[in-house]
């Protein structure tokens, strides 16, 4: 192993790592927003919005991320929609992860007891108030674990942007490997970085889960 390449290509590697983190974090945050909005649409009383939520989930949960990336990066410019490679990748990741977030939020909302909703309605809360004040806070504490998995999945999924030529960690690894033939070292570094990122997200998720469970309390289902 020739450790000198770490010094030589250090800048490139750091750039790749930062880009991977940016893709993962932006993708997940965007997916949280889009996914929650779509979940609210799916349980709203307005039929067209329900339809929108259902169609969104069916399409974007079932389309492979790589196909979506290719379609957005190579296809959309033909229709006159130009975006930078990075933002194309972010949007594709948001749309794809958002569908998973939507399903998680919906099943989290469904896990909040009917009694809670009936009680809030009985004291005259509106749909928005029931969601915002009663259901979502409780549902959120139960969704931490699945959402953590989705965050990890988003971080790993961002590697697919390598295949469309965005120089994030996986792409950089492959580039350095082609340039130097130091395969063991480059793959080891990339693997370790992904491992650490996933462990960090997992640990943060576990910590948040314990805290929220303690503060919201295990009760409240009935």
């Amino acid at each position: 192993m020739n450790f000198a390449i770490i010094g030589q290509y250090g800048g490139l590697i750091v750039h790749g790592i930062l880009l991977t983190i940016a893709l993962g974090v932006l993708g997940f945050l965007g997916a949280m927003v889009v996914g929650t909005l779509m979940a609210v649409c799916r349980i709203s009383p307005i039929p067209p919005l329900r339809g929108l939520g259902a169609v969104y989930v069916e399409i974007f949960r079932n389309i492979p991320l790589l196909s979506l990336l290719i379609l957005m990066v190579f296809g959309l410019p033909d229709a006159g929609l130009e975006m930078s490679l990075f933002w194309c990748a972010v949007v594709a990741i948001v749309l794809s992860s958002g569908a998973f977030v939507c399903e998680t939020v919906r099943s989290g909302v469904n896990s909040v007891g009917i009694g809670q909703i009936e009680a809030s309605r009985a004291i005259g809360m509106s749909f928005g108030q029931v969601l915002r004040l009663v259901v979502l806070p409780q549902a959120l504490s139960r969704m931490i674990q699945p959402l953590t998995n989705i965050f990890i999945g988003t971080m790993l999924g961002s590697s697919l942007a390598a295949a469309i030529g965005l120089d994030e960690l996986t792409n950089v690894t492959q580039q350095i490997n082609v340039l130097t033939a130091e395969a063991v070292l480059t793959f080891l570094i990339a693997g370790l970085v992904y491992l650490v990122l996933c462990l960090l997200i997992g640990a943060a998720g576990g910590w948040l889960d314990r805290r929220l469970r303690a503060s919201v309390g295990a009760g409240g289902r009935r």
Binding site: P47, L68, G75, A79, L81, I93, R221
Partner: protein, 301 residues
């Protein structure tokens, strides 16, 4: 979820006249907004000549259809073979992980946790660029350069599905089996596994969907599956949007069928459980729900 209560019943009473009117008004407004969005997209596409019939008609000719059919067969072959190897391997890994032998358990845990945290594309690149090189010299045929990484990644995530299924079987079952004189192995084989596997079937179908999506990485190794065939079509014709929309639609149809099957089995599982032991306590029902939807096997690929 779908099994438990319908969302619509939860959040609002049957609306009265005024509520109905308000819902109608909002329906019209949102329908118009959505329609405007769709029309806008179509105008944008049409403005750049992407809706012209001549750009779509090729996909009805036998040549193109045959080319895509080859891709579909490639996709299904890779997914099927990967599943046949990965799922049994995953079951073995799960059993090793919960075995009492510390060393075996640690090794299995290491394998699972490591490959769960590594993107599959990285493994694909390793098989493409690193393993064929000299001291190792492992140059697999194209098909296996795609399928072996699929097996490695999927076995790790699916192992966790099996493990959570095994852990979800009531502990009393193990105690009862042991107390009537079953050995450890027999308890697992005869009592626990049949129940655990039935419990995880819906999650396994989700893992199968993930595998199918993983097979798109044939695009990277140039193995002729759907996405790769799409790439070849676009290099000859330049029909970017049309080709990849057709490809995406094929994927969506296959995956929709699979996820329908999964949710059908999910619902049937709930109904069976309800028929066997009476209606579930809401706690238990919620547990089953979160179990089936906790997304252990879900990867965003």
């Amino acid at each position: 979820m779908s099994a438990a209560v319908k969302d619509s019943d939860l959040f609002f009473d049957v609306p009265g006249p005024r509520g109905r009117r308000r819902i109608q008004i909002w329906s019209v407004v949102t329908s118009l907004a959505l329609a405007a969005l769709v029309v806008g997209a179509l105008v944008q596409f049409a403005g750049h000549g992407q809706l012209e019939a001549q750009k779509w008609r090729p996909f009805l000719t036998p040549g193109y259809l045959n080319f895509l059919w080859i891709g579909l067969k490639g996709t299904l072959a890779a997914t099927g073979i990967a599943m046949l190897v990965a799922f049994p391997l995953a079951l073995v890994l799960a059993l090793l992980r919960i075995s009492r032998n510390r060393v075996v358990s640690a090794l299995a845990t290491g394998w699972i946790e490591f490959f769960r945290a590594i993107p599959m594309l990285l493994i694909v690149y390793a098989f493409l660029l690193f393993l064929p090189r000299q001291p190792i010299g492992l140059d697999l045929p194209l098909f296996w350069k795609l399928v072996v990484p699929m097996i490695i990644t999927s076995s790790a995530t699916t192992a966790e599905i099996f493990r959570s299924g095994i852990l979800a079987v009531d502990h009393g079952q193990t105690e009862a089996a042991l107390s009537i004189g079953f050995t450890d192995a027999a308890t697992m084989r005869v009592v626990i596994l049949p129940q655990a596997i039935r419990l995880v079937v819906p999650s396994l179908i989700n893992a199968l969907i993930s595998l199918l999506k993983d097979s798109t990485l044939g695009y990277v190794v140039s193995y002729p599956e759907l996405t790769q065939q799409g790439k070849v079509i676009t290099t000859y014709t330049g029909l970017m949007i049309q080709t990849y929309i057709v490809v995406a639609v094929i994927y969506v149809i296959i995956n929709m069928i699979l996820s329908r099957v999964a949710s059908y089995l999910d619902v049937r599982m709930h109904r069976r459980a309800a028929a066997a032991v009476g209606p579930l306590e809401s706690d238990e029902a919620a547990e089953l729900d979160t179990f089936a939807t906790s997304g252990i096997g879900e990867r965003i690929t």
